[in-house]
């Protein structure tokens, strides 16, 4: 059995037939081919699959694709605009906020939510906001620095 859903992803509308059990993360990756959203655990533990759903950062493995029917989604592929990186992308790039880069898309999306709510976060607030996202490479220091840099340039 398939269900028809309509979603807007990175500004483009899609109408797709999906199985009701399909996770939103798998819908993005396997149906739309947007593999920038990474899956590290499928139990909402790692945060690598974080995307923006109607303005909120959401772990896309905790939603079914059918629950996103009618929603406006932004994934890492949709963050840059007019050929320019988003300040957060710029921050992670310039401040060495990544080693392997696997957690990076989810980190950036979670940080996006933080900066929406708090354009000038302290380091403690940054660490608090990213507590749902694992990075196993960096020890987090350069990630905090990257978000701080993005906040500075966005301000």
């Amino acid at each position: 059995m398939s269900v028809s859903i309509n979603v807007t992803v990175n500004g483009r509308g899609y109408q797709e037939e999906v199985e009701p059990r399909l996770l939103l993360a798998d819908f993005l990756r396997d149906v739309l081919g947007l593999t920038g959203t990474h899956v590290g655990c499928d139990t909402s533990g790692c945060g690598a699959c974080t995307i923006i759903v109607d303005g909120k950062a959401v772990k896309s493995c905790t939603l079914l694709a059918v629950q996103a029917d009618g929603a406006d989604l932004t994934t890492i592929e949709g963050l840059a605009s007019n050929g320019a990186l988003h300040p957060l992308q710029e921050g992670f790039h310039e401040e060495h906020g990544l080693q392997c880069g696997f957690c990076t898309p989810g980190m950036i999306m979670a940080a996006w939510q933080l900066l929406e709510r708090n354009p000038n976060p302290s380091d403690a607030e940054i660490r608090h906001a990213l507590e749902g996202n694992f990075c196993r490479c960096t020890g987090y220091e350069n990630i905090v620095k990257s978000v701080r840099a993005a906040a500075g340039s966005a301000a």
């Binding site: 798998d26 590290g40 655990c41 060495h96 196993r136």
Partner: protein
């Protein structure tokens, strides 16, 4: 962040912090990791894993699974060739081909819960999962042995019935696969010379590397027998070879393409899914993709071994180590091959010790086959040696860093495993720790400070590099070791340094196994070091060729030409007024001067030199809950010469944080039947940003004399110290010693309560012999 440099060579790029070349792909979602590849007609493969931790496979009925609509293939161990136990699979943790093959898919027996027993390929992931449920596996359960010491007992259930320790068939079969001893001096005399002797037993749980990307690959088999394998690994050459060995086919039939890798830390240096995906692709004629779930990663891939260690150390009252006697029992898991050998090497290597005996045991237990994890074995070993040193220092009243300085190994010291050390940075890192403001900073109530030093030997090995000049004078650089932490940028810096061009004018990439010569794995802290040797040599070949061409164009001798600022110049004093020829100029004349301008180098880099590091850790202990917070942490490490300063610091910070996780929270929890009870990120608790302070770094540079720039391996060392540094800090904070990691809240709380009970008994006059433990209370500033 600070740095201590012992050599002031001026570099244009080495030691700087350029932005990584692969960064844009990684912040925009373009970078393709193991699970990101698809091909038309691709099938989804899934593995069926044993729900029994030890047993004999009586039957596997796949008929119902085969009958399911959408299922294209079902395989069991019987579908793979039987391979000899003689062959070795190389890599970071060498293992026999037979053991590796049987670990990939069980044959007669299952050795641990989660051991693969069958695999399916189907048209969708959900059909594949449905099919797994239809496979009927009958297993005759055998008694399970999980504890490493119980497994050593003569009456323990045998995991390999025909295994004799060290292959000695004269001895009865045993779970102890091998034992080895390092010894020197006179142990008895050493302990006689000691004024203080401390002996303890230490335990570490089984922990996982915890890379965020799960294992993933995709295989395509062509009609002519050629295979293409897209794989996330730490070494696609060794994955190619291991896959070929397990399937008993020629390695030349496989082209392995390195995906971006989402972390490995030693865990992605062997095969799990790859032979299954290739076999099912061959049998179906359709591409097969396999991606593990996190649950499968925990249950079915190689964690770092749990261990039990007994150590006895003697020292004089003026702070000289006189003797060390140590036994290390390591869990190999379901097949032989733990990291006990490396643990033995690292145990007391930071120190000059005349009299020692170190015995290691590699022991089979019904847990996943252990595999390499960042400085394999060394954290378990240093946990024991560095806590015992702390206790000795307390007893003789000596500052623990002064003690380490006094006993420091240096150039000329004979390593416990044989060779004599070249220049090493033990003295320098300890001194830098002593000099760091952190070491003197005041502490508050229930806070304490601990230190620990650690050793890692570092590796080198095979590396190949290819440089090619583009029409506009920019340069492509192809190497063949997967880039996990920024090695592409580091190697581009080497090319830019030697060619004297801008680092952004080098375009680095990782070649597939058909497009470049052999390369070892990105492991053993070897890649920045060894591939840098290859890139350096290739760059100098390219320069020599460019100079020859310029000389030909100018009709002068090659000796009249020099390379400067990315161009050939006529040497001063040579007659003529030729304008310099840049790489772009030379590329434009390449066809007339001998063909395309390119150079290769293939090396076996032998001059790796050890890394030493010293950590300072402050903790605060909550006496009501036993929760320990790391509140300040400083990593001091000898990098030889930092290639990319930010990436060196990043390795130090990342390694320390993995060690902190191991020290405080991480461990596999098994039930009595050998079933892991916390096989997910919600229950296997790795550190998040909120758990940690800023990890400060001090990069010490004692150049490795056997490398053009002095580079040492950097990646692994910083995970060695935290177990002991945190334990020593907890003792300093609340006066209780813990000898088992993780030091999770329940264990710390129990230790505090036990200490309190001991104090109360002592207060009542019944516990004169009991060790006095301090009441948790404000600790005065130093």
């Amino acid at each position: 962040m600070s740095e201590t440099t012992t050599d002031n060579t001026n570099f244009r790029w080495i030691g700087k912090r350029p932005v990584r070349h692969d960064g844009v792909d990684k912040v925009t979602g373009r970078a393709q990791y193991g699970a990101d590849f698809t091909l038309p007609g691709m099938l989804y493969g899934k593995a069926l894993r044993s729900d029994c931790a030890h047993g004999i496979i009586k039957s596997i009925d796949t008929s119902a699974a085969r009958a399911l609509d959408g299922v294209k293939d079902v395989i069991t161990g019987a579908d793979l060739p039987e391979v000899s136990s003689e062959g070795q699979i190389e890599g970071e943790a060498p293992a026999s081909v037979r053991d590796t093959a049987h670990n990939v898919i069980a044959r007669r027996k299952v050795h641990y819960h989660g051991h693969t027993v069958a695999a399916v390929a189907a048209t969708s992931p959900s059909v594949a999962e449905e099919a797994l449920k239809l496979i009927k596996v009958e297993i005759e359960a055998l008694p399970v042995v999980l504890d490493v010491m119980e497994a050593c007992s003569p009456d323990a259930p045998l995991i390999e019935e025909h295994q004799h320790t060290n292959g000695d068939t004269g001895s009865p079969p045993s779970n102890i696969a091998s034992t080895n001893t390092f010894e020197d001096g006179d142990l008895e005399k050493g302990f006689e010379a000691a004024d203080v002797i401390v002996e303890h037993e230490f335990d570490s749980g089984t922990v996982h590397q915890g890379y965020i990307e799960t294992h993933a690959c995709m295989a395509e088999a062509k009609e002519n027998g050629e295979i293409t394998l897209w794989v996330s690994s730490q070494g696609h050459f060794s994955i190619r070879d291991a896959t070929a060995q397990v399937l008993a086919i020629e390695p030349s039939r496989i082209k392995a393409i390195a995906a971006e890798i989402g972390g490995g830390f030693g865990g992605k240096t062997t095969v799990y899914l790859e032979p299954l995906a290739v076999l099912m692709a061959q049998r179906t004629g359709q591409p097969v993709k396999m991606v593990m779930s996190r649950d499968e990663v925990f249950r079915g891939t190689g964690p770092a071994p749990g261990s039990h260690t007994r150590i006895r150390m003697g020292a004089t009252s003026d702070g000289r180590i006189t003797a060390v006697d140590c036994d290390l029992w390591f869990e190999a898991g379901g097949y032989p091959g733990s990291a006990v050998g490396a643990a033995m090497m690292a145990l007391i290597a930071p120190y000059e010790v005349q009299n020692f005996r170190i015995v290691g045991y590699d022991v089979l237990v019904n847990k996943p086959k252990s595999h390499a994890y960042r400085a394999p074995g060394a954290p378990n070993a240093a946990h024991a040696s560095e806590v015992v040193i702390d206790e000795i220092c307390e007893q003789i009243g000596m500052d623990p860093l002064e003690f380490r300085l006094k006993n420091a190994a240096k150039k000329g010291t004979k390593a416990p495993y044989g060779p004599v050390f070249p220049e090493i940075g033990m003295v320098e890192t300890v001194q830098a720790a002593i000099d760091h403001p952190h070491y003197q900073a005041p502490l508050g109530a229930n806070q304490g400070r601990g230190v620990a030093s650690g050793f890692w030997m570092n590796g080198g090995g095979d590396a190949t590099a290819h440089l090619s000049v583009l029409p506009d004078g920019k340069v492509t650089l192809v190497t063949g070791r997967p880039d996990i932490g920024g090695s592409r940028a580091g190697h581009a810096m080497v090319a830019a340094e030697e060619l004297q061009i801008d680092v952004d004018d080098v375009r680095p990439s990782i070649g597939d196994t058909d497009s470049i010569g052999y390369n070892g794995v990105t492991g053993g802290s070897s890649t920045a070091y060894s591939a840098a040797v290859a890139v350096y040599e290739a760059a100098h070949k390219l320069i020599a060729d460019a100079k020859r061409r310029a000389a030909e164009i100018w009709e002068v001798k090659a000796d009249d030409v020099e390379w400067r600022d990315g161009a050939a110049h006529l040497k001063a004093g040579v007659n003529g007024t030729e304008a310099p020829l840049s790489l772009a100029d030379l590329a434009g004349k390449a066809s007339q001067t001998g063909g395309p301008l390119a150079a290769d180098a293939a090396v076996n880099a032998k001059g790796a030199a050890p890394a030493l590091g010293t950590h300072i850790c402050d903790v605060e202990v909550d006496p009501d809950t036993g929760k320990v917070d790391v509140i300040r942490y400083t990593v001091v490490q000898d990098a030889g010469r930092a290639l990319h300063k930010s990436y060196v610091e990043g390795q130090m910070q990342g390694g320390a944080v993995q060690g902190i996780g191991w020290a405080l929270n991480e461990e596999y929890l098994f039930d009595d039947n050998g079933v892991m009870e916390n096989a997910g990120f919600l229950d296997y608790r790795m550190p998040v940003a909120l758990d940690l302070p800023m990890i400060d770094t001090v990069v010490v540079e004692v150049p490795n004399p056997r490398h053009p720039y002095g580079i040492r391996g950097v990646g692994e060392n910083a995970i060695v110290q935290p177990l002991a540094a945190v334990a020593n800090a907890i003792y300093d904070a609340v006066g209780v010693r813990l000898y088992e990691v993780p030091m999770s809240p329940p264990k710390v709380l129990k230790a505090l309560q036990d200490a309190k009970a001991t104090r109360n008994v002592a207060a009542n006059g019944n516990g004169a012999a009991a060790q006095p433990a301090r009441e948790p209370e404000p600790v005065t500033a130093r």
